[in-house]
């Protein structure tokens, strides 16, 4: 058994400190916003210029100018603020965010990650990811453990064009929580029923 997306999001929530400020990337990470208990007092930042994202709006409060980085409608909590993109990335680059959560295509033992293009096939662009991986105090990669072909996305060395080199602190995959340690992955925790030899990672790459 591996973790569902919701269970992965809950694992990420357990890594966050009360009162911290975090950025959530496009795609699966936006789910984390819906799993954070409000009593943790966490402020969610979105690079398009807002701090203090709350849950989804209602039909009455929905606004075309109130969206997250995934262009999805959101609402804001009390104490929220709006600002321009340069200030928004100043918050990121300046080290003012406690954590960021990014979706990734590949991550390796050195903590390098790839998430913005597959040469000749697909280009999404890096958006804010290249800034986020250097600016935030804790970079968390969130991903389904396996590709559609069943190969581990946790690899010895990324083959895809990098988003950042040696920047990931923690990996939360559908199979467990890991830390890149330079030459190996440290297994922090495995999802219930998942064993070391089911990870699709060469055993000599596991601590």
């Amino acid at each position: 058994m591996s973790w569902s997306k919701e269970e992965m999001a809950d694992q990420i929530v357990s890594l966050l400190s009360p009162g911290s400020s975090i950025n959530l990337g496009i795609g699966m990470p936006t789910l984390v916003a819906e799993r954070i208990p409000s009593e943790l007092g966490i402020f969610i930042h979105s690079e398009n210029g807002l701090l203090g994202i709350d849950g989804r709006p209602t039909k009455n409060t929905v606004s075309a100018t109130l969206i997250n980085a995934g262009k999805e409608t959101v609402s804001v909590r009390q104490g929220a603020s709006f600002f321009d993109s340069a200030l928004s990335f100043g918050m990121i680059r300046g080290g003012h965010l406690d954590a960021c959560v990014l979706g990734v295509m590949e991550v390796d033992v050195e903590g390098s990650l790839a998430n913005w293009m597959i040469p000749g096939k697909k280009v999404t662009g890096m958006g804010g990811a290249m800034d986020l991986v250097h600016g935030s105090k804790n970079t968390i990669a969130m991903l389904n453990h396996f590709t559609k072909k069943g190969q581990s996305k946790l690899v010895k060395k990324c083959a895809l064009p990098l988003t950042g080199q040696k920047v990931v602190d923690t990996i939360v995959s559908s199979c467990g929580v890991f830390r890149p340690r330079g030459e190996k992955f440290e297994i922090v925790k495995l999802a219930p029923g998942v064993s070391k030899d089911e990870l699709g990672i060469e055993q000599n790459l596991l601590e």
Binding site: G49, T65, F83, L162
Partner: protein
């Protein structure tokens, strides 16, 4: 004494009467949020071509600036994210539009630098990745890339409210790149949902001082599209 020249124009066609082929045009907005809808329609109608578009997404889902991709008016683009913009992704992979992908924080800071007179800066974003190839780097606490300002001939901007001097007020998260672009272009043309008298926007509430604005007009027929409307149950 000379009379003060008005910045107020009747509509998009008068405010953008001097568009030219080959212009470098910045356009505010994040996805479709806060885009200058009327000015984009005017660029489309004018038929000017060989444009360089500088915008975070160059439109999305066939809307916004993506309309100018469909008409092949754009030959080069500077942007950070093309996911959700099939027109750009196709034309980029086919080599029809030359695309410079820039990390979003670097993109916004390069635009800010152009407006603020900063000649260059170093940032770690992109170091050790393919975009660093052949670039000037310098070692601080970690390797950083040297970046230069990004400027334009024209910025087209939308604000919720603007007064006749050009002071602007943006709604919610529609601000994004708009005030930065307004400062970085030789000519800044703003459309607003509400054109008001000077003094109606309180001085403390001005998001962008009017000195950065050259022309302003009252826009009309805003679609204000939402890309992904997600509601709570």
């Amino acid at each position: 004494m000379k009379a003060v020249k008005t910045k107020v124009f009747d509509d998009a066609s008068s405010a953008l009467h001097d568009l030219k082929d080959g212009m470098r045009i910045m356009s505010g907005g994040f996805g479709l949020c806060g885009i200058p809808e009327n000015s984009i329609e005017q660029v489309l109608a004018s038929g000017v071509k060989d444009l360089t578009a500088i915008s975070n997404n160059i439109g999305n889902s066939g809307r916004g600036l993506a309309k100018l991709l469909k008409t092949k008016q754009i030959s080069a683009a500077v942007c950070s994210y093309v996911g959700g913009n099939p027109d750009l992704e196709q034309q980029m992979l086919a080599g029809e539009v030359e695309v410079e992908l820039v990390p979003q924080g670097t993109f916004s800071e390069r635009i800010r630098a152009a407006g603020m007179g900063i000649r260059g800066f170093y940032t770690p974003a992109g170091a050790g990745t393919p975009i660093a190839e052949g670039r000037e780097t310098r070692m601080f606490d970690r390797e950083c890339l040297f970046e230069v300002p990004l400027e334009a001939d024209l910025a087209i901007i939308k604000a919720e409210k603007g007064d006749r001097y050009g002071n602007l007020w943006f709604k919610e998260a529609a601000r994004n790149f708009s005030p930065l672009m307004a400062m970085a272009a030789s000519l800044t043309v703003v459309e607003v949902e509400q054109l008001v008298e000077v003094g109606e926007i309180e001085a403390e509430s001005v998001h962008l001082p009017g000195l950065f604005v050259d022309r302003i007009y009252q826009g009309s027929n805003y679609a204000n599209d939402i890309e992904f409307e997600l509601l709570s149950e």
